[in-house]
Symmetry: C2
Subunit: 317 residues, 2 copies
């Protein structure tokens, strides 16, 4: 049996897991991402936790370390100016970590990628994308991440940053995005975009809704979900609008790479058919003729709590 | 020296050329696409012309036959319901032509692709894309064709139809496209989209313009071009609008595959800097941060009159 260390770097916590090639997680260690004085101290803590996980097995059985991180760049092995991380600028994760591991007599290869690409690899190795050569992974969290796989390979492109479906523009002069531009898909089709839709609908109409019993800051994805389950029309219309915008974005992405499957993962995907049903319907409407019937949209086969670790570990398999 | 037969299938004419590996066209034959009773007779005519071109060389020196055609599908070797062709339905070009060639004792491989993909391969083998691993070829003719190259390979995807930038939607409920949907890039950024923009501007305003001296059916891309050269503001604003819409579409395509270069080819590209200058400016504006400065937009390095033949021939190199 071969093993890999998967690491999920988040703004708050960093979780490390020892994973086998069949997708079982044998042990996880969690550290605070923010508790260290500087990037070097943070890397040292990660290094020591990797060594701790390695203790369980012979080092020869461990293929290496895969890391999923916001703004991770596979080509350069760096985290490139991630807005939500304590450590700023361009972080040389691969170089620093490999060096530290060598100093501890553990010459492991480190591969770094952004979290959505890692999720795509997780889907490929352990999830529903096994045997699927062309697919797109969409993660609907705070933002919209995506990993695009063509002929069994993640598309990195010239910069290593390819696969940014979330930052395709679907409405000129639309909602202002955190990236400074207007009308990015991410501002409509993510948990934050979804709640923004609800707030706009509440302000822009007098339609009755359970959501009117709450203050603006109390409107969350979970609350809209619960309201929709109770049949709240305004909440349901938020799903409809989100599905429509996502359908256009996915139809456009399909026109570029013609996937066989598109997997939906992350916060918003937990709404299940509330999102999926209208999404599939709009998608077929917006799809260019030659692709109709050739693409299926499915919920991810990865479990929420293990997907990030599995995806990161999958970078080494 | 190795040779290849390149064939450009158009709605009106079919041109065949004998091309060497350095991109010199040694001989071309032209036949009418429409002059034959049925598809089989048309294929027979193509077969005989291939044999005629082969006479110049030993058959062993000829690598095969590359064909660029509207709705050509590389995987299946068929032309799939091309609206502008006399012969309807799914045309088994590769199978029928290889069989006919075998019957004439010329066992040549036939590769078929759509014309924009062929143009991309032409750019790669003979044009400015030599050594460029990630690029997008855009052909601005009656429609908008595109070929997307990732890591030196054309992206075909699950269906073989990937790379349809022209049928990404940039304006929901926008202009009605020939494909039946609304807001496709092709309806804005092609020769026909460009003239439609001029007609809309003429109808929707009272802005003075040289173009007002002509009937609606006389408004062509060439006329708008000449008017713009004379400083006609309305004609210039057509370039500005076309450039803006194309910039959004190219910024979106860049977000998916992160090309190093984008090449512009075909009718509208002959306008040169009238289109290219505003296009580059809008493109940098609409580009997601991480891609800024990483992509250059250039005019194709292929000559108009030989590009289709070279592109088709390049499919065999």
């Amino acid at each position: 049996m071969k093993y890999s260390i998967g690491i999920d770097i988040g703004g708050t916590n960093t979780v490390l897991g020892l994973v086998n090639s069949q997708g079982s997680i044998l042990q996880t260690n969690k550290i605070s991402t923010t508790a260290y004085n500087d990037f070097d101290a943070y890397m040292e803590a990660i290094c020591l936790n990797i060594l701790d996980l390695c203790k369980q097995k012979n080092i020869e059985e461990i293929l290496g370390v895969g890391i999923g991180a916001p703004n991770g760049n596979y080509y350069r092995g760096v985290i490139d100016r991630a807005p939500n991380l304590k450590y700023k600028g361009v972080l040389e994760v691969k170089r620093v970590l490999e060096e530290k591991l060598r100093q501890h007599n553990a010459s492991l290869e480190v591969r770094l990628d952004n979290d959505a690409n890692a999720a795509a690899m997780g889907e490929k190795i352990y999830g529903k994308a096994r045997g699927v050569k062309n697919f797109i992974m969409i993660t609907l969290g705070t933002g919209l991440g995506s990993g695009v796989v063509v002929e069994d390979k993640l598309v990195y492109g010239h910069t290593g940053f390819a696969g940014e479906v979330g930052h395709t523009i679907i409405e000129e002069n639309g909602r202002l995005c955190n990236c400074g531009r207007k009308g990015c898909v991410e501002r409509y089709c993510s948990v934050s975009g979804f709640t923004l839709t609800a707030k706009e609908k509440l302000k822009g109409s007098s339609q009755p809704s359970i959501l009117r019993n709450y203050n603006e800051e109390e409107i969350t994805g979970a609350l809209i979900y619960e309201s929709a389950l109770k049949g709240d029309e305004l909440a349901l219309s938020c799903y409809d609008y989100t599905a429509k915008m996502l359908a256009i974005a996915l139809a456009n992405a399909t026109a570029i790479t013609s996937p066989e499957k598109i997997f939906i993962f992350g916060g918003l995907s937990k709404s299940g058919n509330l999102l999926l049903d209208p999404l599939k319907e709009y998608f077929e409407t917006y799809l260019f003729d030659v692709f109709k019937g050739s693409v299926s949209i499915e919920l991810s086969g990865l479990k929420d709590d293990s997907a990030a670790i599995l995806g990161a570990a999958a970078l080494m398999f």
